[in-house]
Symmetry: C3
Amino acid sequence: MSSESLDQSIEAIALVDHHVHGASGNDLSRAEFEELITESDRPVPGWMSQFDSQIGFAILRHCAPVLGLDPHAPPDAYMARRAELGAAEVNRRLLTASGIGHFLVETGYRGDEILGTAGMAEVTGRPAEEVVRLEAVAEQVVSEGVSAAGFAARFAELLWKRSRTARGLKTIVAYRHGLDLDPSPPTPAEVTAAAGRWLRAIEETATVRVDDPVLLRHLIWTGIERGLPLQFHIGYGDPDVDLHRSDPLLLRGLIERAEPSGVPLLLLHCYPFHRNAGYLAQVYPNVYFDVGLGVNYTGARSVAVVAESLELAPFAKILFSSDAWGPAELHHLGALLWRRAMTRVLGGFVAGGEWSPAQAVRVATMIGEDNARRVYRLGDDA
Amino acid sequence: MSSESLDQSIEAIALVDHHVHGASGNDLSRAEFEELITESDRPVPGWMSQFDSQIGFAILRHCAPVLGLDPHAPPDAYMARRAELGAAEVNRRLLTASGIGHFLVETGYRGDEILGTAGMAEVTGRPAEEVVRLEAVAEQVVSEGVSAAGFAARFAELLWKRSRTARGLKTIVAYRHGLDLDPSPPTPAEVTAAAGRWLRAIEETATVRVDDPVLLRHLIWTGIERGLPLQFHIGYGDPDVDLHRSDPLLLRGLIERAEPSGVPLLLLHCYPFHRNAGYLAQVYPNVYFDVGLGVNYTGARSVAVVAESLELAPFAKILFSSDAWGPAELHHLGALLWRRAMTRVLGGFVAGGEWSPAQAVRVATMIGEDNARRVYRLGDDA
Amino acid sequence: MSSESLDQSIEAIALVDHHVHGASGNDLSRAEFEELITESDRPVPGWMSQFDSQIGFAILRHCAPVLGLDPHAPPDAYMARRAELGAAEVNRRLLTASGIGHFLVETGYRGDEILGTAGMAEVTGRPAEEVVRLEAVAEQVVSEGVSAAGFAARFAELLWKRSRTARGLKTIVAYRHGLDLDPSPPTPAEVTAAAGRWLRAIEETATVRVDDPVLLRHLIWTGIERGLPLQFHIGYGDPDVDLHRSDPLLLRGLIERAEPSGVPLLLLHCYPFHRNAGYLAQVYPNVYFDVGLGVNYTGARSVAVVAESLELAPFAKILFSSDAWGPAELHHLGALLWRRAMTRVLGGFVAGGEWSPAQAVRVATMIGEDNARRVYRLGDDA
């Protein structure tokens, strides 16, 4: 097998993007666009441009041609062309060219600003199914009105209802507390007391945001009881996360307690702790991981990140995701940079005489598609 | 010097494997074999194979030819050939082809299931000397019957006896507590009190396992008093280790307190904290480290791990080990992957004009053989 | 653009070394020299040489030709030639050949043993401006005599005076406490109480060393009030640092509290936490970082360290420094290894079709020169 044929085989994988959000349906100004191609939630300072970054260069290199421009187009030309085509056409081009064959869409973050599962399926012509964010369900419960004593029952009821056709659940406990939390499920009395504290805080602050560790633990354990694969935000993200408390090694106690349930735990992103995630995926049968998000934001360096993800973990435990949110460039690059990195890394193993070409294609297909199909039972009735 | 000649020079090094366990003397079923080529202690799930991993691919690539098969043999063919040859012949072929010239065998883990030092010497025709595990000695002391007040004296007596001809000692405090322990030696009264607690716990649980931090500290400080080089399990290992508490940086206090003793402290494995270990090896004269175990389990990626181990540490402070336990494939690959990684990394430095070929050969020989000979005084009477 | 032309463009950058110390004005014995090419503060053991390290090999490879020897000269020949030329000529050759165009000299560490800003400017013919170490100013205040109640006012007064023409401030809180400190400014009463404790300790110990966390916080917050860019020692350094408490992620609280001040916070060195620093530089507008020091001490491996620094951070947030102190080899290599690493890493991006040559040159110039000129307002009146 030549290196072109490995390239072609990897190009042909109908990726399952097992953790993604909707594309933005609106036209975006340059300022808006720049704020969406960084995990920073701060305004971009006047003395810099987010285009001067790995992801910015990757957009100008790889997305510009999809919009009909030369590679390495200047940012202004890129934005002008984007505006000229309009959001719908930009999305259509970038999403279909990504070759993503199946989307598992996490809908819990600012879902009103982006396409939902139906919108994603419509633009791409590919299946899009839902992943439900536990914290968003809890916040919906209290927003609709509930007593402290009624919280647990009402949360379970809404979670089962919201996830009836979902493929997975997601928790952002890393954002709301940190991964260094007591791994045990709280007692019903503790949950009621914590719900009471939360309801009082909402009255005082007029803000609905679940961050009490007792409640977060309750959400997670109820999610495990629900039985769908459970995704964890790990590592890198916006500054709302305390990265020091987002090392997946902190989940050891929870992983061990959840092991008898048989629920797959999927560690998302993981940068810069992806080697730690690979360790957990080797030693615990219920742990999986991906390096989505980090692949996009490291651009030309994503080859190294993907390479580091291919160390300890058995190949059946690694998945692909883009974690794109908003600009369809992120969905496109998530797939493109992953394919490019896998081609270079696995192609290097083959060229060095370490792997056979057939092994390389098989592993790329496992990670790109097969593992997700098995874990999420895609194709089975939801 | 051509790249072939660097290759040949590194191939010719009579490695000192300064931390290794015995090879398995028994034939192994595929299930047994798969459970021994991972650090997981869980059964292998039915939907996956441990052969689908870096180490699995490395076995099929590099060990199959030693058994007379083509590289990249299918797992079933590999296991059939292994059974056909029998464990004794498999061990003979893989161990002698490794080119390991001297084994320092740590005997404290399930020693009855594998070859001991005499068995290893017999199969390989090379010297095999012992490294004694402190925790195993302590557990032997209480298994043979001792009072709380008599524990310290009896432990010292047995340690001196057991290590009479040993080359080094080893502690698995990382497994039994974590490296975040009080660095000071406990007082005799504290040791007696802790021994009493332990003896009562043994009566209650019928399990002999030392994990009290006071006792573990006592074992370590008695080991330092014994004066032999002291190995520490660091980082990656089976799920009994809490990897979050296995960063070698946590040993700083102990390293500084042990410094006046002149006892060499050898940090084993270290993945994924091997850069931290390199830092400690640079700044503390009594600290050494290796990247054994991680080299095996990262397979085609071990080049990167070895490269990262060649950063801060002076070259006199880095050693080679395989940390193999059980299948002789692990001993074989430990040596083969290390040679291959060193050839590629040092060859890259030479090709880039940074190192001279003579420097490359000298450093490979220091790490592969000379440093261990100096630290463990090999060749001197034990 | 050919790879030679990228090489030439990077070679031509008039680097701003935004964190450096003076070169040693004295001739150095081999023992003295070896103790200055490691971060260890221990004597070099007799069984090893610091020349057997990445930095040692880099000196013999790259500095020997500047002194008129062949590359890979033996250490003894190197030291003999160094002595023959004399310190002044060695400094002149190595410093001018470095191509560093502007020095920001941190003067707070053993400043009497090395050249000051004037000396550096004189030897190099290039501007050298000062960075003032907060802790050194505080220690000067108490050495000159002050009451506990008068400490805060006197510290502010001396800091403003000492930094009148300085370009930046520096804190070594990582050495004196660790980065895990309360991020809030202490109250005046707390400062007075802590100053009293310190003054009593000085009387008792006859040692002037500020390490009280209340005082360290006060120094930092006074430094932020002063308004100059503030450098933080991060990560790797001599064994006086507890590396486990030097992860820049521990600064999150302080970074967020300092954000409204608009004061640039510059994370120095960062190895092995440089990816964490890159994360902070992406999400917080006030955070910058470099990988100085680590580049020197990883020698042939510095390509990898520089590559890892080019992941998450926008290119406007990365700077160049050598952190050299003492032997002019460190200044020379800081520049040479950085240029070499940038050429290889960015050249690799260009060769792989990911970046345009013009992007590569622009980013190298931003990191090597432009970012520092903007952050420190070089060229403006101090």
